[in-house]
């Protein structure tokens, strides 16, 4: 096949020149184009928010105030968190859903392609609005990504209102995006693909989409209340009017806890696709995996107050939320057990995606265990608001969600582009990330247990050693990610041609399409064996 024919087959009809190129990406209704847009944007935002993390770690390199003032430091922690959650992990998982769900269920595209375009293009506007707060009078939001009232209501800087509206926009994007994914999964499956035959990645996204539809409107409600409290005289979060600042925390975490599963469930899905491929065995306990995911989703609505143990909620509430939180460990344990059992007696090979998946399983489990420690209400009184919490959620988000995203990128990159990534560079990326990630975040456990509070630009002298170790790890981790980007760009042009199956043990409909797949994935419904 000549180059020209390949392009005609894979690209859309578009006008020539730069205008045509811009119009193609602005107006696209194609799931692969939109998936690519999501992934590219989240990669870009990863470096934006990563740079903020570098500022934080540079300030914490040694005790005392060196580089930034405390007010700016607070803006960095706030925006780093907000962008990493809403601008990196979430859009990246939606990008994966866009690329993979239609291909995995045998559909030509997403169910509502125009809406799909809208849900992506809202995001660049929303994040421009959010980052523009850095240049406003009074600075960017400085109250942490959780924006607790009254820090954000009474004491928030003027830019808080711009932040509120940007959250509204992100929420709108997430709601429309997840609505589209849920409709696609329910309605566009190839006729012979029954629900229980769906790939695990599709299952996890079905449940994630449900969670998003349930809780993003609640976040919208929370920021709306914040806005009216700030400017229209309401007293939701003001005890003087008969409201309660704690109400904010209840509403926020009723959104926030399902939100953390929104960040991790698609990651579970990716790992559940990758481990069987490189073990050359079907996934162990496949149905149990689905039931466990549903279990986690249901429990996620009943555990929010474990973020609030020290706020003075009643003892009975603390006990309830402590026990329900611990219950989450059961379905999660089922998953870890199943991944390990899938590998048992498999013929394993260790390509980059498998390496990241293995690191995910081990390190996410560490994050899960520190989560169990935090779930114990009386112990949490010690851990609350310390670096132990920071260590915990970075283990589940960096070595959890982010590593799973790396897993997925390396795994499907040959399918997306038709070219193999560079294996040597991939391995460098993996080993450096693995080591530096642990050097960064493992000492934070000790810092937290020793009592170092989070979100501060300065600290007592006894914390100095662990802090410079963590900072060193962070810088290495940051630089290492450039290898990743270089690999993706380089291999796009110079990589070896990929075959249709790409991996020896690959399974599922996406591997029955050529690499790269045609512009409209399946024009006629495929047969599922």
């Amino acid at each position: 096949m000549t180059e020209a024919v390949v392009h005609a087959h894979h690209g859309p009809d578009r006008r020539p020149g730069i205008i045509g190129w811009i119009a193609r990406w602005l107006f696209t209704t194609n799931h692969k184009d939109i998936g690519t847009l999501y992934l590219v944007m989240s990669c870009f935002m990863f470096f934006v928010a990563g740079a903020m993390a570098m500022v934080i770690r540079a300030e914490l390199w040694i005790p005392g105030l060196q580089i930034v003032n405390p007010h700016f430091f607070n803006q960095m922690t706030t925006l780093h968190g907000l962008i990493m959650v809403f601008g990196v992990i979430m859009p990246a998982t939606v990008g994966f859903a866009n690329w993979m769900v239609p291909m995995m269920i045998g559909a030509p595209d997403m169910a509502l392609p125009r809406l799909n375009n809208l849900s992506f293009w809202i995001l660049p506007f929303a994040f421009t609005l959010l980052t523009s707060t850095l240049f406003m009078k009074g600075g960017a939001p400085d109250f942490g990504w959780t924006f607790y009232a009254p820090l954000s209501s009474t004491y928030g800087p003027p830019s808080t209102d711009f932040f509120i509206f940007s959250v509204h926009m992100m929420g709108m994007s997430s709601i429309l995006g997840s609505l589209n994914i849920i409709v696609t999964i329910l309605n566009l499956r190839a006729p012979s693909m029954k629900m229980m035959k769906m790939p695990i990645f599709v299952w996890t996204w079905l449940i994630t989409a449900f969670l998003l539809l349930a809780v993003m409107p609640i976040l919208a409600g929370a920021v709306t209340m914040l806005l009216t409290d700030r400017h229209f005289g309401t007293s939701f979060f003001n005890a003087a009017g008969g409201g309660d600042p704690l109400l904010f925390q209840h509403i926020f975490w009723f959104f926030g806890h399902p939100e953390v599963y929104i960040l991790i469930l698609p990651a579970f899905g990716i790992v559940s696709e990758v481990v069987p491929t490189f073990s050359r065995k079907p996934l162990f306990g496949r149905n149990m995996m689905i039931y466990a995911t549903i279990c986690i989703a249901v429990l996620s609505f009943l555990v929010w107050a474990h973020h609030m143990f020290t706020t003075g909620i009643t003892l009975s509430a603390e006990l309830f939320f402590m026990y329900v939180t611990m219950l989450v460990a059961v379905p999660t344990g089922v998953k870890v057990f199943n991944w390990v059992s899938t590998m048992y007696k498999g013929s394993l090979t260790f390509e980059t995606p498998m390496l990241f998946a293995l690191a995910f399983i081990v390190l996410f489990t560490i994050g899960g265990f520190s989560g169990l420690m935090l779930a114990i209400a009386p112990a949490d009184f010690q851990y609350q608001d310390t670096y132990f919490v920071v260590a915990h959620f970075h283990y589940v988000l960096v070595s959890g969600s982010l590593f799973a995203l790396f897993t997925g990128v390396y795994y499907w990159y040959p399918k997306w582009t038709g070219r193999m990534y560079n294996e040597a560079l991939g391995k460098w990326h993996f080993w450096l990330s693995l080591i530096s990630m642990n050097v960064t975040f493992f000492p934070m456990h000790f810092l937290g247990l020793a009592g170092m509070p989070r979100r501060i630009p300065d600290y007592a002298l006894q914390f100095a050693d662990f802090n410079w170790i963590a900072s060193l790890g962070a810088f290495v981790f940051g630089i290492t990610q450039l290898i990743f980007v270089f690999n993706l760009i380089y291999s796009r042009y110079k990589g070896k041609q990929a075959t249709m199956e790409v991996w020896e043990g690959s399974h599922g409909l996406e591997w029955t399409l050529p690499s790269p797949p045609p512009y409209h994935s399946f024009e006629t419904p495929p047969e599922v064996k």
Partner: protein, 294 residues
Amino acid sequence: MSSTAGGYYVPKPSHWPIMACIALICLTTGAANWIHGNTIGPYLFSFGFLVLIFMKLGWFRTVINEGLNDTFNHQVELSFRWGMGWFIFSEVCFFSAFFGALFYTRAIVVPWLGGDYGTAASLHTNLVLWPNFHGVWPVMNPPGKSVFHGLTEAMSAWGIATINTAVLLTSGLTITWAHWAIVKSRRKQVVISMLITVALGIAFLALQSHEYWRAYNLQGLTLGSGIYGTTFFMLTGFHGLHVTIGTIMLIIITIRCMKGHFDKDHLFGFEAVSWYWHFVDVVWLLLFIFVYWM
């Protein structure tokens, strides 16, 4: 529109979504600037609103024309149905945040501030902060009266609210009548019943406006009168906003009925709006029970 082989439908590239994004960014930055008293605020907001209207008209016209030209097969229509259903689900969740705030303040916060929650912490809160505050609902005199001015008369369930309940329930009946008439192809009845539904929607809004006017001018009940005014206006206000949007949708559907766009096999547009209207209806029933009555 372009269709791929095998009966799947994939629309052509569209410029409406990016226009929606431009509308959104103008509306949001406009609103934020307006709140901050910047001159550009109202202009930006109004511009965004115009773009929004233009975008809505264009996007819906495209979809309606595609529908009239029989572009959509059964599967696409089913996608639209699922989509509308899940959209309403997310709306339910939005309201549940505000209902949750109402229940939480009524069941925990107000008794706690009044010292009646049954814990030592509650008692101390009352004694130390606001010993004169009585934790009863409706909160006529909020703890910090210098900031939140309180009210003289709370809302009664057995006045305008009762009439409005009757109005909305009746409109639920008339829209069902319209549905039945579409299926039976009785165009005249469709138009009459739709017009009555629209009229009832407008009547509801007029009555609620009157109620708000009374609240502000005669009862001292405003957004700033403490938690009672806060929950009352935010809940009924968002509901009223939904009734307004619903009424606009009903008007458009009525026009489409007059043009004969719907028959028993092609009525998704009508059904989507009627689902939305029933959703608004159910929210009102909950409001009537939990905000006005109990």
